[in-house]
Symmetry: C2
Subunit: 630 residues, 2 copies
């Protein structure tokens, strides 16, 4: 291609998926002239798999993105068709909000947001190569020959990177949903010294809702109680007319059809070389791995308000189309269901994430960032969280400000990125509650309290929003303080109330906050016995209740966090030569050399680095003895 000098931008973001959309919005909102380049404008923020956002851990990420001034929460709040709070019976750490999305409306809304954001240009085009000079990224070149120069480039190519679709014996080069794949960008990354690997993911068939017998399935309606992802969305905006999901099950016949055709399953015949997501297995994988499970749940999820397509949730498959028809028809409620699109697997390139700094800038090429699925994660929320952080850090670096890194105690986003850059990942990485050491701190309900100030300092949360946050925060503190002063006497009413709840009677007077600690006592109960605060907000009550009830656990986590922070404060200088440090074990030395951790805490989390190594390292750092590479 004949090249031409196209414009200069402060930041160029390649790919307008979930990662790229957030990255570009953040950079532009921080005042950087930003170009967002993507293969197909009709697929901006497209959901190639499940039409939903949120759920355990992921839902918390959406709220974190929102508290930091990202877009995902606000836009799903405009386009959901069902909202549900999961795990309401369990502790607050695992509660999670989940929305069914109108996936097309979500796309349109995000595209519109991008189009109307200042400093941001959205353009269709395919980035084919990086312009790198002396190890520094200076821009990109597109398929149409446009040479864009830039101070930072953020790549978020998702599953399009040398994408290959697989359906039974059929394989072809393609991005998700039969879109154009990105081939040359991968080659350019390799040319620039990046180590790539192959991952795979899969999606289930879609069926025509007019051919489903819903009477044979179990309805899963949305919640009556209002909830939203964004801290900006008022409860009054809660959607009344929600669509239901429907639950059904696989059965013996389904399993038999699959088992009889395993010799044609690309998962098992060697056709699929990429590593798949352990926590999102295909149905054929589940049948093999859990051979004695008599059935698996299947969720039928509407893909939007204006279509009859249903997503067959938890039924991801790359079996031949012929077999997929049979599998579907074996399921109760789907006996006559017409398949509209077959399920498929997709293999794609991943930048092994140990090549990244915690800012998501690559160690290999300066001013180049990668985010999203191409860093080895799986999931829209994980992608969006990374995109936001990459956009923020690119903008910060350009303006000479300190990097923005969230640690593991501050946000799931911190856990995610720290895991990626410290441990790498051998399979598509999905956030799980269990990955967070401080999960009682990383709740969905307190994401605003954890992160709004940071978002505001970055310039991503406006003053209005910040003011409401401060009002809420003050109200929570005031109420906590008030409850810590009011005493309840063991009146007959209180004793009767406790007896009715099966709780022990009061022996003495007790602080209102201590009274609320009792498992059976709710804030709503408490204020029968003490003066109420007029007009107190639901969300304030929620905080007060959780912070008081879980105070013991929370305090313990806070103590652990304080220790972490001390370790995190011990910075390791950049580019040090671990070979020059005596006494390190061989494996530890190699891993440290590869990962180049930025803090002692990060070093301690690297698999293969043992406590003795950390001890030696700690002494060396204190003595300022470490030898730089150059």
């Amino acid at each position: 291609m004949r090249e031409y000098d196209a414009a200069h931008y402060d930041v160029i973001v390649v790919g307008a998926g979930h990662a790229g959309s957030e990255a570009a919005l953040a950079a532009a909102r921080m005042g950087r002239e930003t170009l967002l380049l993507t293969i197909n404008l009709d697929m901006v923020a497209f959901m190639p798999c499940n039409p939903s956002l949120g759920g355990p851990a992921k839902g918390i990420v959406v709220r974190e993105i929102d508290a930091l001034g990202g877009q995902m929460g606000r836009n799903i709040d405009k386009t959901y068709i069902q909202m549900r709070m999961l795990n309401t019976g369990k502790g607050p750490a695992v509660r999670a909000l989940r929305a069914q999305a109108d996936k097309h409306a979500y796309h349109r809304t995000m595209k519109r947001t991008i189009e109307t954001t200042e400093h941001l240009t959205l353009r269709q085009g395919i980035a084919e190569s990086l312009i790198v000079e002396d190890g520094v990224c200076k821009g990109i070149v597109t398929n149409t020959g446009a040479r864009y120069s830039a101070d930072s480039v953020i790549l978020t190519a998702g599953t399009a990177s040398r994408g290959k679709i697989i359906i039974g014996e059929l394989t072809y080069s393609s991005g998700p949903n039969n879109s154009i794949p990105s081939i040359k960008l991968s080659e350019s990354l390799e040319d620039n010294g990046f180590v790539l690997t192959r991952f795979k993911t899969g999606t289930p068939p879609r069926v025509d809702g007019t051919t489903i017998d819903f009477s044979k399935t179990e309805e899963q309606p949305g919640d009556k109680e209002p909830n939203h992802f964004s801290f900006e969305t008022p409860d009054s905006a809660y959607l009344k007319d929600q669509l239901s999901c429907w639950m059904t099950y696989t059965n013996d016949t389904t399993h038999q059809v699959i088992r009889e055709n395993l010799d044609r399953a690309p998962m098992f015949t060697g056709v699929i070389e990429g590593v798949g997501p352990r926590y999102c297995p295909s149905i054929e994988d589940k049948i093999v791995r859990f051979a004695d499970k008599p059935r698996h749940q299947i969720f039928l999820e509407p893909e939007g308000r204006e279509t009859e397509e249903y997503y067959v949730g938890d039924f991801s498959t790359s079996m031949p189309e012929e077999i997929q028809h049979k599998m579907i028809h074996s399921i109760e409620g789907l006996e006559n269901a017409q398949m509209m699109r077959p399920g498929y697997a997709i293999e794609y390139d991943v930048v092994e994430p140990w090549q990244l700094k915690p800012t998501l800038e690559t160690k290999v090429v300066e001013n180049l960032y990668t985010a999203g699925q191409m860093n080895g994660t799986s999931g829209y929320e994980e992608a969006a969280g990374q995109g936001l952080m990459a956009g923020i850090n690119a903008a910060l670096k350009q303006t000479g400000r300190d990097p923005f890194i969230l640690d593991r105690s501050e946000a799931y986003i911190g856990v995610l990125i720290d895991d990626l850059v410290t441990k790498g990942t051998k399979e598509p990485y999905r956030l799980l509650t269990s990955r967070a050491e401080y999960r009682l701190m990383l709740r969905h309900d307190n994401a605003d309290l954890r992160l709004t100030e940071k978002g505001h300092a970055l310039g991503l949360i406006n003053d209005d929003r910040f003011d409401s946050y401060e009002v809420k925060k003050a109200a929570v503190e005031a109420e906590l303080a008030r409850l810590a002063t009011i005493r309840l006497k063991p009146t007959p009413e209180i004793q009767a109330f406790l007896a009715a709840k099966g709780e022990a009677p009061l022996k003495d007077g007790v602080l209102a906050s201590d009274f609320l600690k009792r498992p059976e006592v709710k804030y709503a109960d408490l204020i029968q016995f003490i003066p109420a605060v007029e007009g107190i907000d639901n969300r304030v009550v929620e905080q007060v209740e959780i912070q008081i009830k879980y105070a013991g656990y929370i305090d313990k986590e806070k103590a652990k966090i304080a220790k972490l922070k001390r370790m995190e404060a011990k910075k390791i200088p950049a580019n040090i030569d671990y070979d020059a440090i005596e006494g390190l074990a061989t494996e530890g030395r190699q891993k440290l050399q590869k990962i180049q951790p930025e803090t002692l805490a990060q070093a301690s989390r690297i698999g293969g680095v043992n406590p003795a190594d950390i001890g030696i390292l700690s002494v060396y750092i204190q003595q300022g003895k470490i030898a730089k590479v150059k």
Copy 2:
């Protein structure tokens, strides 16, 4: 690919563009079990070029489709963002309705219509080969190995057929808008003996509306007066909140930029081999062909209600992207406009349409039909009209009913198909008012009167709709009859009225209908002087007015049509051997052999067949002398 026997359908339609959508809906509504197979479900009834429907001749086709029970009119009425009646100052034959579409909403609405239509299955998949046995089409095989059998197959592959996108020096294999092209189906057509040719079409860039300076352009708002495409849509549904289009112009600088870069214009460097549409030329073509025109109009048309993308109408181009930026920035109002997608040309395969019968069944393979862009036309409406006819004819043939053919006096659809199958086309064929000999009969206002009965007989117009049609028709006839009996006397009021209008005074009493014939007299004027009919419908008045005012011309056309009908009634037996007919001129003989016309009228329209040939043929037919091929 390993193949498997998939289902049997009465009708299989390949491609859910504008042609395929209508074909499939018609066949299914006529009770045929129909499969509609398309490459990407997210592009059903997608508009790859202008976000609008209608205009001269084309708008009439939309109404004809509607009167026959097709879908295009009903769906644009649900999704337009602006409606305008064009040429209101001119005669009724050239008046035309034009709508700006919310193109994404149009897609969604058509997809939903298809999903919810009985007997119709919509499925994503790529048809790769035809199953043909002894010259009869028996089904198709898809990329996933599905072998579908069918009684009829209708191909509507549009510009995806071996599509090749061209932007300056860049060319790549692709369907419209970077979608997957259809490669193997073309090969299968060739294998089965079809003659294919290459056409090309092009589309302009899209720009970001937030970067247009609309103050430098002229606003083109929608009409206040309600109008719709479908005869079903009530005026009360007329959209109040319409979006405007905006007009600007090319100028010297634009032309200079283009002229200086003609050496890089694929149109002129030989890169483009396909034949382009004469009536939709690219801007570089216009600059070259009309070198002394100082400027060309450009229309900025919103692509939908929820996007900021604007279509730069009448600015189609395949210049290199670099030049496109410059061309855009040279235009008033677009100085700072950001291009979101570059314009491009696309080359694609066409089935030379002389290989078709007037039913759109191919002569080469029985029970195989082709429709839309792949028959050499250009335009959504032309495609939809053909699709409807192919769907209807496939259904009719299967149920042993007579074919449904519209002649040139009955509908623009008739003109279109007759032109295609009789004359073939050397370039993308577009309907123009001038192609119709009987254009005063083929008005947009009387499409219902022309075609509703036929649609009802086919089972595509339901009884309710038919009843309203009959009520209207009766009302028109009653009012015509009434006006032909009421006499107006030359009262002082009438004479004063005529004087004010500058018309000659009445000498004598006159029939109300004759009074209405006067150019300056409107129906609204007339009923000041005679009793009004209470509650008479606007649309009835429109008919009465036109039918009376243009009675003279209409009668003349009717006489010509009667002659045509006599010729059309002279059927030529199928598969005759023109070599066995003595006296035919060589060229006429060859053309007749190739086209195999079905009537003497059709034979007379074949270029190269002269009146003497027709005379000879006519005698032979009357004498039953023609020798069959076999």
